[in-house]
């Protein structure tokens, strides 16, 4: 191992770091294609170099050490970034899309990253949420919030349905089942007039498809202090809050016994079974919770576009989400958020240049798999003692020190 950088960020440094990240994010979103790409590539290269010397992990540790400062400054940045976009509709749209995809990718990560089950149907789950909103608004004429609930309920049911075959299959077969489900999903929507068929459910906005909160529309042009804001800004803030909540949930799940079991199943299913982990239950759990995340993302996406169509939730969208998870780094929530952000921005900016989106996704996926299969920010070495709390961790450390020379229970 090369010489590692050992340093701890102090509280002001963390605030500075947060501000730096927000400024970078802002620039990447707002700048035109070429400079935006340049900043992005530079940022990725710096991250990769830092990761080589273990600096990224140090930064993570410092963030955990100064949790309160990090959270408060992060929250401020989260509100400031959307507001800083002011009247730039397109930039706000990109940011919103990115946030929605981040939520979906966090969900997909439960299956792909944690449990190593490649699910080729995350877009179908997103579609469930989106069609939940679409149907609620268009056919039942109720608030889209009801649609979110419908979507989540459908996703739970669908998660069980997809999850059941996975109990019996794995590897290629599992991939094929999920692929078949994804393709069948699109086909079913094509031929169901109730769901709008190929045209999809259009013009949700006029039937009240926009989300409202306490009587305030979340998708509206507000003018505050003389500045006209883009209509997406409040929605962006709302999505950001949802993202933070769900990231918190995802991280908590990672640190619970359930998350640990999922990782164990990923490493060796038979061994996990022998150790008394209820493999079927955990796999179903991964599918259901991932499905719920994706469904929420789909609902938010429907609220953003005011349109739900089968082509938005087809196989290539699934592939895109998988690509985002791999690029960012499997089983690392922060990595996934970074990867999703980068890929969404790349693809949205490419829209100006030409119809290269899918081509670029494919190429990036191939290159990433060959060059750096673990992603930009790979998963961290698990601190296994963190599962059950700090006291035990201290005890274990003490015990480890007593047995000099032998490392504590890290598998690495």
């Amino acid at each position: 191992m090369k010489d590692r950088w050992n340093f701890k960020l102090s509280a002001p440094a963390i605030v500075a770091c947060n501000i730096l990240i927000s400024v970078l994010a802002h620039l990447i979103i707002v700048m035109p294609f070429v400079p935006s790409m340049a900043i992005m590539v530079a940022a990725v290269v710096i991250i990769l170099i830092m990761d080589r010397y273990g600096a990224v992990n140090e930064i993570f540790d410092s963030y955990i050490a100064h949790k309160k400062v990090a959270v408060v400054s992060g929250a401020v940045c989260l509100v400031v970034i959307p507001i800083s976009l002011t009247s730039q509709n397109y930039a706000a749209q990109i940011a919103c899309t990115a946030v929605v995809y981040m939520i979906a990718c966090l969900g997909l990560n439960f299956q792909m990253g944690s449990t190593d089950m490649t699910n080729f149907a995350p877009a179908a789950f997103m579609g469930l949420g989106a069609y939940g909103v679409g149907v609620a608004v268009k056919h039942f004429h109720v608030s889209p919030w009801v649609g979110v609930l419908i979507g989540v309920a459908a996703a739970v049911a669908f998660g069980f349905v997809i999850g059941l075959p996975t109990l019996k299959t794995k590897g290629y077969y599992l991939s094929l089942v999920t692929m078949a489900i994804q393709l069948a999903f699109t086909q079913i929507i094509y031929i169901t007039p109730f769901l709008g068929g190929q045209g999809g459910l259009t013009d949700l906005a006029s039937s009240g498809g926009r989300f409202t909160l306490f009587g305030l529309s979340l998708y509206k042009r507000y003018t505050v202090a003389g500045i006209r804001f883009a209509p997406q800004i409040p929605y962006l803030i709302f999505c950001g809050v949802v993202l933070v909540l769900l990231t918190y949930v995802a991280m908590r799940v990672y640190f619970t016994k359930s998350g640990l079991s999922l990782n164990t199943i990923a490493q060796d299913e038979i061994a996990a079974n022998c150790m008394g982990i209820h493999v079927s239950k955990q796999k179903l759990f991964a599918f259901v919770i991932g499905g719920v995340f994706c469904s929420i993302a789909g609902s938010l996406y429907a609220g953003l576009d005011a349109y739900v169509g089968p082509d938005t939730y087809n196989f290539s969208k699934s592939l895109m989400l998988i690509c985002m998870v791999i690029l960012g780094g499997m089983d690392n929530s922060i990595g996934i958020i970074v990867g999703t952000f980068l890929l969404t921005v790349i693809s949205e900016k490419l829209r100006d240049v030409g119809d290269f989106q899918q081509l670029v996704y494919g190429a990036i996926l191939v290159i990433m798999l060959i060059v750096r299969p673990n992603g930009i920010i790979p998963k961290r070495v698990r601190n296994y003692c963190a599962v059950t709390g700090r006291t035990i961790q201290k005890n274990v450390l003490k015990a480890a020190k007593a047995k000099a020379g032998k490392p504590a229970g890290d598998k690495g």
């Binding site: 077969y173 094509y190 190929q198 592939l319 494919g362 190429a363 191939v366």
Partner: protein, 311 residues
């Protein structure tokens, strides 16, 4: 008919899986590439004035040859780009990389073959009954030149396709069972280490397998294109998934299983379309349901041994 086209792709999957134990998911896209290769070559040759100069069978053979070379080359590329780097990593890596490569192939086809380029070829061919699914909302629905029995009836075309199929199967059977190369491929499929120990050049044979798979897939693309009369750049995904499903239904390591599986899948689809009222819309869905049921209850396929995982 559908069965024939699925069978060709399914055999491709079986060959690759047998030799390498990986699923090459871009098979469908390679086949599509072959079909588009034929379209492209047709356009080029037509504008070069070769269409009238050569007798039709010779012309078709020339086109097929071009497509076969292209597909074989693409097979090699897919091996070196998406399989070879992941020989020692987990099984999911080649799966993802081949799918990604398939996307690249597909999108490249979509970019290169804009509808305008092929306008002439479309005008030349007699407009047969187009499949509505392939036309609606397509970025580049291309008319496949009706090369098999041009001017002939549908029945004539279908018989030709079945004949092509039978000839290919016969050649493949002879190759696999009567030639040294084919026998070494079977040996590698059964036990790679042992084959290596007995002095076979495993690497060479793997490469050759990919070339042969590419050739097969080019014929598959040709047959599929001729059958559907209109091809789209992203037709390969559905086609490839169904081919793989056919291979799974039949049993992944057995060539005959692939034939049976392909036929079975084709029959299920056709019967679904024919017997259920309004079934044409449902045929894909029913096919997928059959696949899922098969995978869940009989993952080893019709012909195939049950494997029990040991620690």
């Amino acid at each position: 008919m559908m069965g024939c086209t699925y069978t060709l792709v399914a055999i491709g999957y079986c060959l690759f899986f047998g030799v390498l134990d990986v699923v090459v998911f871009c098979c469908g896209d390679i086949a599509m590439f072959g079909a588009f290769g034929i379209v492209g070559a047709y356009t080029v040759l037509y504008s070069a004035g070769l269409f009238g100069a050569l007798p039709l069978p010779l012309f078709v053979l020339l086109l097929l040859l071009i497509a076969a070379i292209l597909c074989a080359a693409l097979g090699l590329v897919s091996y070196y780009v998406s399989i070879k780097p992941f020989e020692r990593s987990s099984t999911l890596m080649p799966l993802l990389s081949t799918i990604a490569l398939g996307t690249v192939i597909k999108e490249a086809l979509g970019l290169v073959f804009q509808p305008a380029i092929n306008g002439m070829a479309a005008a030349v061919t007699n407009p047969a009954v187009p499949d509505p699914k392939t036309v609606v909302g397509g970025r580049n629905p291309q008319a496949m030149p009706s090369l098999i029995a041009a001017g002939g009836s549908m029945v004539q075309r279908n018989i030709t396709i079945i004949l092509i199929m039978v000839v290919i199967l016969a050649v493949l059977f002879l190759f696999l069972n009567k030639t040294k190369m084919g026998l070494s491929m079977q040996a590698i499929s059964q036990n790679k280490e042992l084959a290596f120990m007995t002095g076979m050049d495993v690497k060479k044979i793997i490469v050759i397998t990919f070339v042969i798979g590419g050739l097969l897939l080019s014929v598959g693309g040709f047959v599929l294109g001729s059958y559907q009369t209109i091809i789209r750049f992203d037709g390969g995904t559905l086609y490839g998934t169904k081919g793989f499903s056919a291979a799974v239904v039949g049993g992944l390591k057995s060539t005959w299983g692939a034939v049976i599986g392909g036929m079975l899948l084709g029959f299920v689809e056709v019967f679904a379309a024919g017997l259920i009222p309004g079934g044409t819309q449902w045929q894909n869905i029913i096919a997928f349901v059959v696949i899922i049921i098969f995978i869940v209850f009989k993952p080893e396929g019709i012909i195939g041994e049950k494997t029990i995982e040991k620690v």
